[in-house]
């Protein structure tokens, strides 16, 4: 099964890339677009026969150990 993990900077942390994207979009005429923040998406495969609990536990452990720095980032498993 395909796993998608969305990693983003926590809300209170300045995300300068989003700000620059917002300025560019606004100057292209997308003036309704605001509060843009950019994150990253990590995709990976896990075996289909893995239990729901084990899946959650493994993903959580991988995020804590390597994929996410919880001082600055938060994550969400999509789908």
């Amino acid at each position: 099964m395909r796993i998608k993990i969305l990693v983003r900077l926590k809300g209170q942390i300045l995300e300068p890339q989003g700000k620059v994207i917002e300025q560019s979009l606004n100057s292209l005429g997308f003036i309704e677009f605001s509060n843009i923040r950019q994150g990253k998406l990590i995709e990976l495969d896990l075996p289909d026969n893995i239990s729901k609990d084990e899946k959650a536990q493994k993903i959580d452990s991988a995020c804590k150990k390597l994929l996410v720095n919880d001082i600055i980032e938060e994550y969400e498993v999509l789908g």
Partner: protein, 226 residues
């Protein structure tokens, strides 16, 4: 007894040789270069995690290097109350290991900064003993992720425990910015609580020789040796 030291090299380190020369020239003692896949460290007084782009800065700066085989030994070295200095990428690695608080995020203005900067010491520790209060040091920086971040609670701890070693400042005769990269409280370097581990974004190993613009980087090694 002569001062012994070591520099760890990761794939993508690019200041390891500078750090080796810095240590050889200033300590006059034994200097080891250790590859990140090694599983033992010689007993030395100081270990440097050098600058560069370890593992291509993939995922986050320093994230991959913080999981290298040698890191267990580096942590033991620090727990043994011996000195550990992380410069630039080395600072990022130390925060990723968790030996130092906080994190280094993208520079506020999204620009890679490669230039001289000015710093002064904030709280006294063994790495800055030879530096006078309010003495302004000129030391180069070269980083994209040097914007020090921590939450308010951690910042209070850093202040109460006097863990802030260096802060960016205006140069005496220049129009430099006071806080070049947007770091909280212009923090340029912090120590751990025991003050035997220092992480700093500026590169003292690029400011020690006659052919460098400044020799202020000498003061860090001189402090440790004194």
């Amino acid at each position: 007894m002569s001062f012994k030291s070591a520099v760890i090299t990761f794939p993508g380190s690019n200041c390891d040789r500078d750090a080796l020369c810095y240590l050889k020239d200033l300590t006059k003692g034994e200097v080891h270069n250790i590859w990140h896949e090694e599983t033992s460290l010689p007993k030395v007084d100081l270990v440097i995690l050098p600058g560069g782009f370890s593992f291509g800065d993939y995922l986050r700066s320093g994230a991959m290097a913080s999981k290298s085989k040698i890191i267990d030994e580096v942590v033991k070295h620090a727990n043994d109350n011996r000195y550990l200095l992380g410069i630039c990428n080395g600072f990022q690695i130390l925060t990723e290991i968790g030996l130092l608080e906080g994190a280094l995020i993208r520079n506020k203005k999204l620009k890679f900064l490669g230039k001289n900067c000015f710093i002064k010491k904030k709280f006294k520790n063994n790495f800055n003993l030879s530096i006078k209060d309010n003495q302004i040091l000129q030391i180069p920086v070269a980083h994209n992720e040097g914007n020090f971040y921590c939450d308010a609670e951690t910042l209070n701890l850093l202040k109460n425990n006097e863990q802030i070693a260096f802060e960016y400042c205006k140069g005496e005769f220049s129009n430099t910015e006071e806080n070049i990269n947007g770091s909280i409280e212009a923090i340029a370097g912090i120590t751990n609580k025991k003050k035997n581990v220092l992480g700093m974004m500026p590169h003292p190993e690029r400011a020690y020789s006659d052919f460098h613009q400044s020799q202020d980087g000498r003061l860090i090694i001189e402090s440790l040796i004194s």
